[in-house]
């Protein structure tokens, strides 16, 4: 199970990096989204998930029966997902506005700030 997830994570990161290196904005955003998924999946895998062992405390006991899954990575991933959702939403609006303003989705055309005015 973990080995499959590890390959998935690597695939997501590789695809994301490839997309980031493309010249089109849209692919850039897809690349960022894929990379954030890779990061989230990485947190999940590294914390070695245990299937079917929820960290639930039974009535009358003080801690869940061992071994139990660590709940913290889930909380971390949820926070990270919410943040990356906001960021991706912002980026989509940004590329839409940029496309309207510049009229191209080619990153190589965006050099007006790098050129000197003279």
């Amino acid at each position: 199970m973990n080995i499959i997830l590890a390959f998935c994570c690597g695939l997501l990161a590789a695809t994301g990096t490839y997309m980031l290196l493309r010249r089109s904005f849209v692919k850039l955003v897809i690349g960022l989204a894929l990379l954030s998924h890779a990061a989230n999946l990485l947190i999940y895998i590294v914390a070695s998930p245990l299937l079917g062992r929820p960290p639930l405390v039974r009535a009358g006991e003080t801690q869940p029966p061992a071994p139990f899954a660590d709940p913290l990575p889930g909380a971390l991933i949820l926070t990270a997902i919410v943040i990356s959702f906001g960021v991706v939403a912002f980026t989509i609006v940004l590329i839409k506005r940029t496309y309207e303003e510049i009229g191209t989705d080619d990153l190589d055309q965006m050099t007006s700030t790098d050129r000197d005015l003279c």
Partner: protein
């Protein structure tokens, strides 16, 4: 409770600003009031930690390492105070310089959330919490950068957003790996437990991942390209806020993480940091020389100055790593880094404010289009001269002492190469400051395209600039007490056991208890 105030006050201010959406005057009043009270709170914290006590706060009553901890040591308190000073100056400048549309729809609340996030990043003692503050800071800065939607802003924003998001992903991956291997994210707990890793190479890997991620945020070589591509595009008040604070959060994170957590890697990391520092200084200053726009020259100088801060850190941790024990020379070099940061934040933000003042008085910051300001605006020229000479490191101004402490630390530690590089770079800095001076301020004044400023705007624009200049001179004249503060902060940074003790059993106050 006290040490949460620098985060809570600007958050509250931002929330209240949103109630006055569309009306610039009440928002400006709220922004000024909240940055002023943030400054008061952070100075109070600074007084409390001056004698070396470290204040901690566990949110929700959860003891470290289970809850989120805020820690204010001397370095953190100094940084928060500087953040509040820059915040107050920028808000005052915005009252005069912002156009009505931006000022009424989002400039103030976003600047306030940015300030809250920056203070949060300086105070937090938890790695994941640091990530969250970074993201809040980034999102506020994204919107501030693009507010207005001009072509240059959008183009700059795409580069800025992409590279900073990439750095956040790397940071998040590093956090995942740290949690998976060490099993904690509380920085003090991490510092204790990272030595138990079976494979010491793992710690090197984690340190490298964090260094790359924070290096992108700090604008260190070779990851600085987003900075000069974007910092000159937004309105002047926004550039000043960014230039003073954003990259410094990256530098702060590098210093905090390397000095606190990865102390077993110091001899290796010290060399890496020194090489990065040297290359950052040189490439930054060479980039600045070929530019012909005031704001772009200043953006490249941010990059080269980041090198100086890293230089102090590199010398200090390299020395301690090779000696195996802390030494007065290492403390001196580290204090150089701390001194440099607090000199730099004030001077750099001020130079950007001055370039903003030039922009609104003449309509341009291009060196070829603006001439003779020394004749037409002598007061502004004098303020620029003070700040730029301080940046280049002319004696009695703050920059001289900052460089002096660094160079002395470097010489005593025997790192002659980096000292030579830093001196050559400061000569080149002086060259590009004189370039701005001769082209923009000397010569015959040309006809102004934009109408002269009215008295009210002038007062709001000039007073924060003059205030920051006075601060630069004060740091220069009172160099002994500033150096003492930096030395104390450096000593605390190099002795991580004090931080750890304070988090676990020191003077900890829970939220709700009286501080």
């Amino acid at each position: 409770m006290l040490i949460a105030l620098p985060v809570l006050i600007p958050m509250l201010g931002a929330a209240l600003c949103l109630l006055f959406w569309g009306r610039s005057r009440p928002q400006a009043v709220l922004a000024l009031a909240s940055t002023a009270s943030m400054l008061a709170a952070s100075v109070w914290i600074l007084f409390d930690v001056r004698d070396g006590t470290i204040l901690t706060l566990n949110f929700g009553g959860w003891q470290a390492p289970f809850g989120i901890t805020f820690v204010a040591d001397l370095f953190g308190a100094i940084m928060v105070t500087l953040g509040a000073i820059v915040g107050l100056a920028v808000m005052a400048f915005s009252v005069g310089a912002s156009d009505r549309l931006r000022a009424s729809s989002g400039h103030y609340p976003l600047s306030l959330t940015l300030l809250a996030a920056v203070s949060g990043a300086f105070l937090t003692g938890d790695l994941f919490n640091l990530y969250v503050w970074f993201e809040l800071m980034l999102l506020s800065s994204f919107v501030l950068l693009t507010l207005g939607g001009e072509r240059g802003q959008l183009e700059g924003a795409i580069k800025y957003v992409t590279l900073n998001l990439l750095s956040s992903m790397l940071f998040l991956m590093a956090i995942g790996l740290i949690y998976g291997t060490v099993g904690t994210l509380n920085m003090a707990d991490l510092a204790r437990r990272i030595d138990d890793l079976q494979d010491p190479k793992l710690a090197t890997l984690l340190a490298t991942l964090l260094l790359v991620s924070f290096g992108i945020k700090a604008g260190a070589f070779p990851f600085f390209f987003w900075l000069p591509a974007s910092y000159h595009t937004p309105p002047p008040a926004v550039s000043a806020l960014f230039s003073g604070l954003l990259t410094k959060v990256g530098v702060y994170a590098i210093i905090r993480v390397l000095s606190l957590i990865f102390d077993q890697e110091w001899s290796l990391l010290g060399d890496v940091v020194l090489v990065v520092a040297g290359l950052t200084m040189v490439t930054g200053v060479l980039g600045a020389i070929v530019q012909n726009d005031m704001r772009r020259i200043l953006s490249f100088h941010i990059v080269s100055q980041i090198g100086y801060m890293l230089m102090g850190l590199g010398i200090a941790i390299g020395l301690v790593g090779s000696l195996g024990a802390s030494s007065p020379i290492a403390v001196l070099a580290m204090s150089g880094a701390v001194f440099y940061i607090f000199h730099h934040i004030i001077v750099k933000a001020n130079l950007f404010l001055i370039s903003g003042a030039v922009l609104i008085t003449t309509g341009s910051t291009n060196l070829k289009e603006v001439n003779g300001l020394a004749k037409s605006h002598p007061f502004l020229s004098m303020l620029f001269l003070i700040s730029s000479m301080s940046l280049a490191g002319i004696p009695i101004l703050s920059g001289f002492w900052a460089k002096f402490v660094l160079v002395r630390g470097g010489l005593e530690a025997g790192s002659y190469t980096i000292v030579l590089v830093s001196l050559a770079v400061s000569l080149l800095t002086l060259y590009s400051m004189t370039k701005i001076w001769t082209q923009v301020f000397w010569g015959e004044p040309d006809d102004l395209k934009s109408p002269p400023l009215d008295r009210r705007t002038k007062a709001w624009v000039y007073s924060p600039i003059a205030g920051m200049c006075v601060l630069t001179i004060c740091i220069g004249i009172g160099a002994e007490s500033s150096a003492k503060l930096a030395l104390d902060a450096a000593e605390q940074l190099l002795d991580s056991s004090r931080y750890i003790d304070a988090v676990f059993d020191g003077a900890s106050a829970q939220i709700g208890d009286a501080p």
